[in-house]
Symmetry: C2
Subunit: 326 residues, 2 copies
DNA sequence: TTGAAAGCGCTAACAG
DNA sequence: CTGTTAGCGCTTTCAA
C-alpha cells in the first residue's frame, strides 16, 4: 500500500499538502492540487484509517450490540443500521451478547480500545452507569436504557392494547396471553396493554396469562396447558411472533382450527408471520425505519450535534391476516 | 483512558518495560513485573488497539461479506463466525453486499484501509483476481471463489440427488424442481443432482423445471404454473427452503394437500422449516459448524499457518418431516 | 534486565 | 499557499 509519503514524493510536495488535498481543508493552489490528485490516482493511494484513527481518536466505526442475530427480529434491525452507516462512511461491528452482561462489558471494552465512535445497544441488562464509564455516544434501540439516552422504540403497551382489542373486535370472548419474560420491559408493557383491555371483563382472571419466555418451544407447551385448562378460550395474544408460532403449533396439536376455533395474534411483524399457514396477524413494528433513525441519531451525536429528542416512539401497525379472520 | 505512559510513570519504569509485561515477551524481573501489574490494575489500563494496529499492521478485526443478513440462511452463518472470532480476540465487521460487485469492492477497500486481518466471503461474483489485489487472507464460505482459496461448503449436487431420491422413495412418480438463479453455482449444482436422479425417467422433460430465483414470492408463482400445467406432479424439490415455503403456499392456494397430494422438500435446513405447517422436509447443511471452521481456518491463515486443505466439504443431512410423509 | 529512541501513517499547529 | 515538525500510543531494536 502506498503511504502519504509516497504520494508526497511522487507529487514533489510535502505530506502536509497531500493531507490538505485529500481532506479538502486548508488552502492549496489549484495546480498543486492537480499534481497531488494525479499522484493519488497513479499510486492508487488510499489513506490509512488506522493512522488517522490514532491521531483523531476516532475510527469511523460503530458497534451494534444485539442479543442474538439468529433471532429473526434482529437481522432487519442490524440491516437498517448497517445500510445507513456504510453510506455515511462508517463500518459496523456486530456483537452478539446473548443478553449476558459479561459479554456486553467485554464488547464495550473492545470498542473503547478500538476507538469505536459510538454504539447502538439492544439490551435489557445494561445500566446507564456502565455506559457512562465508557464515555462514548450511545443510543438505545428497541428497549430503553435510561431516560437520558436517546431511545428508538415503539409504545409496547399501546401495541398490546391494540392487539387485544383486535381479538375482541373479531369476536373473541375469552382471550389468553402468552407473556414474554418477567422483568423484561417490553414483555411487561405488552402484557399491561393486554390487561388494559381485558382486566375488567367479568371472565378475566390471572389464569389467562402464561409465561412463554419469548421462546417458541416453551410457547407450545404453555399454550397447550392454557388451552386444556380452559376450553372456552377463543383468542390468544402472544407477546411476540415467535411465541405466536408456538401457539399455532399448540392449537394444531390439539386439533383446534385457527382462526375458527381460536384466533391468534403475534407481535413484532417479522417476515416469518407471512409464511405460516394460516398467515399470522401481528402488531408490526417499523423495524427498518426505527433502526435507521437510531443510526442517524448516533451519527449526529458522534458529529457533536446534540440530539435533544430522547424518546423516539414509532407507530405500530396492526396487520390483519388469516389467523384472526372470523 | 490511561496510556502506556501513565502506567510507566505510575510504576516508575519505562514504557518499554510496560510493553514487555503486557505482551509477555522479553525478559522482565519478577519484581518489576509485579509493580507494572499493580499499575495496570490501579489505572485500569487497557492497551490501545489502534496504536498497536498501526505498528503491527494488523487489527484483530476481520470482515464478513454476506449478500444480506436479512436472508434467513445468513444469520446463523454469521453467528458461527462471530462466536469463534470473539473468543480468539477478533472483532467482526458485518458487510451486506446485496451481491453487488460494486459494494463488495467498497467493503474490501474499507477493510484494507483499516488493516483488517482477513475476510470471510460469501459471494458468487467476486473473482480471485480482485482478492489477490488486496493481499489479505480470505476464505470462501458457502460458495467457492477459486480452487486455491480455502472453501467451506457442502456438496450441492450430492444434496440435490439425495433430496430427489427421497421424493422417489416416499412414492412420488413425477417430480418437479424449483431451481435457483442460473449461473449461481450452488443453484446449478442442486439442479444437476436432481437431474442425475430423474433424467432417465421416461416421464421427465424440461418442463418439470422452473426458475424460482431463490425467492419466495417468485416460487409461489412458478409453482402454481408448474402445478397447473401438469396435474400429475406429486413431488417438488425446491432449490432452497425459502422457495419450498413458496411451493407450500402455491399448493395450498390450489387446494392441494401436502404431503398427500404433493410432497415438498427444501434445501438448507433453516429454522423456518420447523415452523411451517406441515413442517418441511429439507436437506440440512451444518451451517454453524461450517462457518465456525471457516473462521478457524481464517485465523490460522492470519497467524501464518498454511492451510493446505483447500476444499472443505461438509456432510448434509436429510431431515424427513411431515411435508414428505406419505 | 532495563531504558532511550525510532518509527508505524497521518493530522494540525506553526512558521515562513 | 506550502513545508517543517511534533505528536497520537504502541512495539521493537539497540545499547547499556
Amino acid at each position: 500500500m502506498a503511504t502519504i509519503k509516497d504520494v508526497a514524493q511522487y507529487a514533489k510536495v510535502s505530506v502536509a499538502t497531500v493531507s490538505r488535498v485529500i481532506n479538502q481543508n486548508g488552502y492549496v493552489n489549484e495546480d498543486t492540487r492537480k499534481k497531488v490528485e494525479v499522484a493519488v490516482e497513479s499510486l492508487n493511494y488510499k489513506p490509512n484509517s488506522v493512522a488517522r484513527s490514532l491521531f483523531k481518536k476516532q475510527s469511523k466505526t460503530i458497534g451494534i450490540i444485539v442479543p442474538d442475530i439468529t433471532n429473526p427480529y434482529f437481522p432487519e434491525l442490524v440491516r437498517g443500521v448497517e445500510d445507513y452507516l456504510i453510506q455515511k462512511g462508517f463500518t459496523t461491528i456486530l456483537c452478539n451478547s446473548d443478553e449476558d452482561p459479561e459479554k456486553e462489558r467485554l464488547y464495550l471494552d473492545v470498542m473503547k480500545q478500538k476507538y469505536v465512535d459510538g454504539a447502538i445497544i439492544v439490551s435489557n441488562t445494561i445500566e446507564r452507569e456502565l455506559i457512562d464509564g465508557y464515555d462514548m455516544p450511545v443510543v438505545a434501540l428497541d428497549r430503553s436504557i435510561h431516560h437520558d439516552i436517546p431511545t428508538f422504540a415503539i409504545d409496547n403497551r399501546d401495541g398490546g392494547r391494540i392487539a387485544a382489542e383486535h381479538l375482541l373486535e373479531v369476536g373473541c370472548t375469552r382471550i389468553g396471553h402468552i407473556k414474554g419474560p418477567d422483568k423484561v420491559e417490553n414483555a411487561d408493557n405488552r402484557y399491561l396493554g393486554y390487561l388494559d383491555v381485558v382486566m375488567h371483563k367479568d371472565w378475566f382472571h390471572s389464569g389467562y396469562v402464561v409465561e412463554g419466555n419469548f421462546d417458541q418451544k416453551q410457547a407450545v407447551e404453555v399454550t397447550k396447558e392454557l388451552l386444556q385448562n380452559d376450553r372456552e378460550i377463543d383468542g390468544i395474544f402472544a407477546g411476540n411472533d415467535t411465541m405466536a408460532l408456538g401457539a399455532l403449533k399448540a392449537a394444531e396439536s390439539l386439533n383446534l382450527n385457527v382462526p375458527e376455533d381460536i384466533a391468534i395474534i403475534g407481535f413484532d411483524g417479522i417476515d416469518l408471520t407471512e409464511m405460516t399457514k394460516p398467515e399470522l396477524s401481528t402488531l408490526s413494528q417499523p423495524i427498518y425505519q426505527m433502526s435507521r433513525e437510531a443510526a442517524e441519531a448516533l451519527v449526529a451525536l458522534i458529529e457533536g450535534e446534540l440530539v435533544q429528542e430522547k424518546e423516539n416512539i414509532f407507530p405500530t401497525t396492526l396487520i390483519k391476516r388469516q389467523s384472526t379472520k372470523r
